[in-house]
Symmetry: C2
Subunit: 115 residues, 2 copies
C-alpha cells in the first residue's frame, strides 16, 4: 500500500467508496464518473500498477480479478444482457489511476471500437 | 472444442490465423478487423464462452489470459506507450464470437468511454 494511491486508500477504508463486492483479494466499487448505467471498478487489495506490470507472481491475483468481474456483472444483473470488461495501461491506454483496475460496464449497448 | 466455433478451429489449426503468441493454455492472433495499429486477440485453448460464463474452475485459465495479454503488449512493443485490454460478453457487450477472447489494443491513443 502507498499513502498517495487513492485506490489503496479505498482498500484500507481511508477513502469512502460505493462498494459492491469485497473478497480477501479484491474490492469492487462504483466509478465516480460512470460511463454506463453499470460502471464498477474491480481492484486487487495488493498494489499492482497495471496489467502492463503483471508478472508470473500475479497469476493467482489475475484470476481473482477476472472472476470478480464476472461476479460483479451477475450482482448488477447485466450478465444476461451483456457487459464489457476494460483494463487500461499507461498513457495511450487511458489509465487514470496507477493501481490496476478492471472496468465493468453494462446496462446499455457498448459500441465498437472500444475507444 | 466444437466444430462450429471459429476460434476452436484456429486453436486446432484448421483455420489459419496470424499468430503472435502460443502457450499450453492460450493462442494469441491478430484481429481480422483491427481497430488500432496493434489489435490482437488472446483466447484460451479450452472452449469457454465468455467472461460471463467463467466459473471458479476457470481461475487458473483466467490468470493465464490476463498475463498473456501483458506478454502480447510487450511483444508488440506497446507496453511502454500504453494499451487497452477489452473483453465483451453478450449482446450489449458487443461479443461477436462465443469463445472467450481478450482484445489487446495499442499503437494509438484510446479514447474514453470505451464504447
Amino acid at each position: 500500500m502507498t499513502n498517495d494511491c487513492i485506490f489503496c486508500r479505498i482498500v484500507s477504508g481511508d477513502v469512502p467508496a460505493d462498494v459492491v463486492l469485497e473478497t480477501d483479494h479484491i474490492v469492487a466499487f462504483r466509478d465516480l464518473s460512470p460511463q454506463a448505467p453499470v460502471h464498477v471498478l474491480v481492484i486487487p487489495r495488493e498494489h499492482v500498477e497495471a496489467v502492463g506490470t503483471l508478472g508470473s507472481e500475479h497469476h493467482d491475483l489475475a484470476g481473482h480479478l477476472l472472476l470478480a468481474a464476472r461476479e460483479v456483472a451477475e450482482r448488477e444483473e447485466v450478465h444476461q444482457s451483456g457487459f464489457r470488461v476494460v483494463a487500461n495501461t499507461g498513457r495511450e491506454g487511458g489509465q487514470s489511476v496507477d493501481h490496476l483496475h478492471l472496468h465493468v460496464l453494462g446496462g446499455r449497448p457498448l459500441s465498437w471500437p472500444p475507444g
